[in-house]
């Protein structure tokens, strides 16, 4: 490995591909969606012209939206039904009461009211919040966007005034998601002093030991404990094998009793 500092792989390839698809489709959806929300802004008209006109804007927006929908479905199906190593309600990314405590302790630590940084596991409370934001965002966008995309069919079941309410929800949630990503997510990965100019974890999936010790000490401890136990088990098995081999060698020299040689399995 070229850079040994980044020794801990937190994210595998499938996960990083999902994240890459996610941010690509979100960026495209935002750039093509904002002109529709603020059409009288000069930047909106410039953007639409640069991308090739209103029909292109619509096509790109729908393509990005459908990508997000498919990505969401794949994500849920995989982690709930296909990857069964952990039942989905026990997955580490789900919010627990401990995360609320961590959040409060984190604020207290930042304000100097507390000496110790909260000890967190595989996902910190703000990472889980990011994740919930994505789940909520994609759910709202899909549920409000699909009826608008398939408007003719939707209007057979719901009146036009409900479609206008869906538009309000869609565009308001888009603003919330955009601002949250632009400000809070960008803080955590770009302009936090520990991360400036950027972290490459989304690319190679790795983090340093300092990161693990500060933000995921419980996960690190659990992992190291498992490592130690595995090593211990291997050592004992190796000793047992060596002992058995030594006994077998000793027995082959002296006259062997009628008992069967001990199994080395």
């Amino acid at each position: 490995m070229k850079n040994e500092r980044y020794a801990y792989r937190r994210f595998g390839l499938f996960f990083r591909i999902q994240h890459g698809l996610l941010f690509s489709s979100v960026i495209i959806a935002v750039i093509t969606g904002l002109p529709m929300k603020y059409p009288d802004a000069w930047l909106s008209r410039v953007t639409v012209m640069l991308m090739g006109g209103v029909q292109m804007r619509a096509f790109l927006h729908h393509a990005a939206g459908l990508t997000m929908v498919v990505l969401g479905i794949v994500h849920i199906v995989y982690y709930v039904f296909i990857d069964r190593r952990v039942p989905f309600y026990k997955r580490p990314v789900l919010f627990r009461l401990k995360d609320l405590r961590d959040m409060v302790q984190h604020q207290q630590y930042n304000l100097g009211l507390r000496k110790d940084f909260p000890r967190m596991g595989r996902y910190t409370w703000f990472e889980k919040f990011d994740y919930i934001g994505v789940i909520w965002g994609i759910a709202v966008m899909a549920l409000t966007g699909l009826p608008m995309l398939y408007m003719n069919t939707a209007l057979k079941f719901i009146p036009l005034s409900w479609l206008q309410a869906l538009w309000a929800a869609h565009s308001d949630e888009a603003m919330l998601a955009t601002l949250f990503l632009l400000v809070i997510h960008m803080y955590h990965v770009h302009f936090s002093p520990e991360r400036f100019p950027m972290t490459l974890t989304w690319w190679h999936g790795r983090v340093t030991r300092e990161d693990m010790e500060k933000y995921h000490p419980l996960e690190l401890e659990a992992w190291e404990r498992k490592q130690r136990e595995a090593e211990e088990r291997e050592r004992r098995e190796a000793e047992a094998r060596a002992r058995a081999a030594a006994e077998a060698a000793a027995q082959s020299e002296s006259p062997a009793p009628e008992s069967a040689p001990p199994s080395t399995e």
Partner: protein
């Protein structure tokens, strides 16, 4: 991954503090402006 990551680490060691402050200020300004637009829109 190697050399770009090392460049990032070097830049962080040298400019991490000031870079963070500048970009955070810009982003907070964007946030405040956006919130004012949203609130003013709604009022």
């Amino acid at each position: 991954m190697g050399s770009f990551q090392q460049w990032l680490d070097r830049t962080n060691a040298r400019y991490g503090g000031i870079g963070a402050v500048i970009t955070a200020t810009i982003c907070l300004a964007v946030l405040v402006y956006a919130l004012l637009v949203i609130l003013g829109d709604f009022w």
